[in-house]
């Protein structure tokens, strides 16, 4: 579901990250595989790409521009793209609302706990599945994938009442457990594909040297897949950070995360578009920047692991 937007974005590991190295075979031929050859074709394709990028990037830019308008300008008819007057008023309004800053802290807490929980559970499980290939492992990864099909709306209410019955109602812990039901299957799948790429000789050498299997996993295999763990952590973090439905069903005042607060702006304070766009920008930009920044590190970590392995 869209919630779990990223959760939902399961899929093969982000395969664009390790840049596929094109084989430089036919020298002199200025193309590999599908690459376009002619200069005129390439020019047209670049123009197409530019158009696509502008169209694709525009909605978020418009959100940013709007957040710098004055509150009245925000809903002016007809709307303008750029602010007539640049101001931070929407930002001060949004952040000044009671509960907004607290919701940021809740979001961070929930996402961090959920990410840690996902990794602690998924890393050993994925290793068990890929390294030993037992029938139970095969059944388990199938079962984990089936849980990805469960609509959160179906388990949200029972989950909320379970949490209430153990005294965890309206806490970041309860919400992070709920978020882990989304990110755990995804993390197991991602980690499985990373472990798959580690040569088996590596732990065999370690066990011959007197390491236990657990020791080999901890001291030899984990360092090699640290790049993969970072990628998995980002996915788990985003799944929790952007999740809305569980947060709506399971939190009240104390542990409300920012997506719920953003949605509440609509009803609670009338239609305050200016504050909403400002809060949405503040909530989205850190994760966009973080992911783009970390992407380099992840590539470096992976190539290093590959070279050592």
């Amino acid at each position: 579901m869209s919630n779990a937007s990223v959760a939902t974005k399961a899929g093969p590991p982000p395969s664009d990250i390790p840049e596929p190295q094109p084989l430089r075979k036919r020298r002199g031929v200025n193309r590999e595989g599908l690459e376009a050859g002619r200069r005129s074709t390439r020019t047209i394709l670049w123009i197409l790409l530019a158009a696509a990028m502008v169209l694709y990037g525009f909605p978020f830019l418009y959100l940013l521009f709007t957040s710098f308008k004055t509150p009245i300008d925000t809903i002016a008819v007809p709307p303008t793209i750029l602010p007539r007057e640049w101001t931070l008023e929407n930002y001060t309004n949004a952040l000044g609302r009671s509960g907004v800053v607290a919701s940021f802290i809740n979001s961070i807490q929930t996402a961090v706990i959920s990410t840690a929980l996902s990794l602690v559970l998924a890393v050993p499980a994925a290793y068990g599945i890929t390294r030993y290939k037992t029938p139970s492992g095969r059944v388990f990864i199938m079962a984990a994938l089936v849980t990805r099909m469960v609509p959160p709306v179906a388990i949200g209410i029972p989950l909320a009442s379970m949490m209430a019955s153990v005294g965890l109602a309206d806490t970041p812990i309860a919400l992070s457990i709920a978020h882990t039901t989304i990110s755990l299957p995804l993390s197991i799948w991602l980690m499985s594909s990373f472990f798959e790429s580690v040569p088996r000789d590596l732990e065999e050498a370690a066990t011959v040297d007197g390491c236990s299997r657990l020791g080999a996993l901890w001291r030899v295999v984990i360092p090699v897949v640290s790049g993969g763990i970072a990628v998995t952590a980002i996915f788990a973090f985003l799944a929790s950070w952007n999740e809305f439905l569980f947060a709506l069903l399971m939190t009240a005042i104390r542990s409300q995360t920012t997506p719920v607060v953003i949605a509440n702006f609509q009803t609670q304070f009338g239609l305050d578009w200016g504050s909403m766009t400002a809060l949405a920008a503040v909530y989205s930009i850190p994760v966009i920047l973080l992911t783009l920044l970390l992407q380099r590190k992840i590539v470096a970590g992976m190539t290093l692991g590959a070279v050592k392995g």
Binding site: A36, G128, V153, L245
Partner: protein, 295 residues
């Protein structure tokens, strides 16, 4: 004493398996159990066993069957458009080669945005009166009146409009998966086809798409499951309206549970919905995906 490899593997998997059993399987069991009861929404209220009554109510209610069709239509629209756009972008990035790498990364940015934010943003773009899209189309001379198209207020098109943020958010994912698949197509094969005089459309339909089949299947299944569960983007844009014209299954279940206070009926709907998704997905997974097996 050294335990066997098989047992060691089992120990490694146990914590995760227990977690999923307690926090996914058990709530599901509760959901199915609740579907046979008439439950008062008030905590501690009466709870009467009614057999299959809730299922009968669900299947005979117009709201439920039309939500089912709407969910199907929504899913098809989202997946088809995402596939077409994602394939187009993946081909574009592939034909442009390594120089477009940075743009490939930038293209991923919507994947990091919360669906609730995306829904809000597109609502802002499409809303009547101060929505930018109507205004721009009007200024470009395409529309005679900025409000000519009621993106979110016309029941005939609203199901399509609410799908736009979902498409915007995850076309990148489709592109990513298809791009990865395109990189695995052997260059020699394409070269040979070119030497035989194959032109671009023939290359695409005779060679590229058939070779991409497994990747396409995975991408469609994953996105299909997600689109069928869409909730946040629709809730924030229209809350299912106008006149329930954008009320998909997730929204109907949510409203039955929370607004109409009928957890028993909502559970029956949830159970049917889940079984339908499992049936469709299982057929797809069993035929094409086969995780955990050696390639």
């Amino acid at each position: 004493m050294r335990i066997s490899d098989r047992r060691f593997a089992l120990y490694l998997m146990t914590p995760a398996a227990l977690f999923l059993a307690v926090f996914v399987a058990y709530p599901l069991f509760r959901l199915v159990a609740d579907s046979f009861f008439k439950i008062s929404p008030i905590a501690g209220g009466p709870r009467d066993f009614v057999g299959l009554q809730n299922y009968v109510t669900a299947f005979t209610s117009e709201a439920f069957t039309s939500a089912g069709w709407r969910t199907l239509a929504y899913t098809l629209v989202v997946v088809t458009l995402e596939f077409a756009l994602g394939l187009g972008m993946a081909l574009l990035f592939t034909t442009l080669g390594r120089k477009s790498q940075i743009w490939r990364t930038v293209f991923l940015y919507p994947l990091m945005i919360a669906p609730i934010v995306a829904g809000l943003l597109w609502k802002f773009l499409m809303i009547d009166n101060f929505g930018l899209i109507g205004t721009l189309l009007h200024q470009a001379g395409i529309l005679s009146d900025p409000n000519q198209i009621g993106w979110l207020s016309d029941p005939n098109i609203v199901l399509f409009s609410v799908a736009i943020p979902d498409i915007w958010l995850t076309t990148s994912f489709m592109c990513l998966v298809l791009f990865a698949g395109l990189q695995n197509i052997p260059g020699d094969l394409l070269e040979a086809a070119r030497l035989d005089g194959a032109r671009a459309p023939a290359l695409l339909f005779r060679i590229i798409l058939p070779l991409l089949r497994p990747v396409i299947a995975v991408a469609l299944v994953v996105r299909g499951i997600d689109a069928a569960r869409a909730f946040d983007t629709i809730l924030i844009q229209t809350n299912g309206g106008p006149q329930s014209a954008s009320e998909t299954m997730s929204l109907l279940i949510y409203r039955t549970m929370i607004r109409f206070g009928d957890p028993g009926l909502a559970s029956a709907m949830g159970t049917i919905y889940l079984l339908a998704m499992l049936a469709i997905a299982f057929v797809a997974v069993a035929t094409i995906w086969r995780p955990g097996k050696d390639n």
